[in-house]
């Protein structure tokens, strides 16, 4: 939006959405702390597993060649052409199209991040620490966006998606099982083993699906 419709409206939309997300986190954060930890871990684990497996599924299908890798350059060109073609509508001194698209994009994508921050923070008993981590990540992404000022085509998107999927699935498995009443051998020390298991299984599936695709070709 910044490149095609102007940075003022795009940044205003981003700021407004960030503010809305901050309000959501501030409102939901304290509410989560009154839920019993076992129930919270069960619900959070289930949701992280569902999210994580969605990410992992797409990343494995792309890595094994069953789904096309995202072409960031063509996606950027397509979105930029649509943004340029949209009519200009000035409201409150802002290009309304640029503002609303930026607001919607940041709010919807940010909701998933806000959910992850709240759940990680509440299950580990420190929402402020999780917020600090999330804010640090946001600052890094904003700086990268300002520096690059264009499509992030050099970012290894599928590798990042694979890593996010692995992490969410690992924490989801660990907390989900704890919430269901399981005692992990070695308690928190079991977490690296769950992580290793998820990585090995995922890489094994990439290899198996790649072989299957080659056999069918």
């Amino acid at each position: 939006m910044g490149v095609t419709r102007g940075w003022r409206s795009a940044l205003a939309g981003t700021f407004a959405a960030s503010l809305a997300l901050a309000v959501i986190v501030a409102a939901l954060g304290p509410a989560l702390t009154v839920i019993p930890i076992e129930v919270l871990r069960l619900v959070v684990g289930a949701l992280l597993l569902v999210f994580g497996l969605q990410w992992l599924r797409k990343a494995i299908l792309r890595a094994s060649g069953w789904r096309a890798l995202r072409d960031e350059d063509s996606v950027f060109e397509r979105e930029a052409a649509a943004a340029r073609a949209a009519q200009r509508d000035e409201r409150a001194g802002l290009d309304w199209y640029g503002f609303t698209v930026s607001f919607k994009g940041v709010l919807l994508e940010g909701l998933e991040v806000a959910f992850i921050v709240l759940t990680f923070g509440s299950t580990q008993g420190s929402i402020p620490l999780a917020i600090v981590g999330a804010v640090a990540a946001i600052v890094l992404v904003v700086i990268a966006g300002i520096v690059v000022r264009g499509p992030l085509s050099r970012v290894p998107e599928n590798t990042l998606a694979f890593a996010v999927g692995v992490m969410l699935t690992t924490f989801g498995t660990f907390w989900g099982a704890e919430g269901a009443g399981v005692d992990w051998p070695g308690d928190d020390a079991a977490l690296p083993f769950v992580l290793a298991f998820v990585i090995l299984v995922s890489l094994g599936y990439v290899t198996a699906l790649r072989r299957r695709r080659l056999a069918l070709a």
Partner: protein
Amino acid sequence: MRRFGAFWWDFVVGDDWRVAVGIALALGLTALLATTWASAWIVLPLAVAAVLWISLRRAAG
């Protein structure tokens, strides 16, 4: 309202509803076994691996 529902469905369930159902069943089974079996921790990782494979095989024809 319909679009709102569609957003939440896509947000939580995503491309394959079987994954969400499989995870719910696996967590239920884990909770059931955890009361009587000390090694019930093994159930969820194995179920996650199975659910993921089933979903991948469907997507990969």
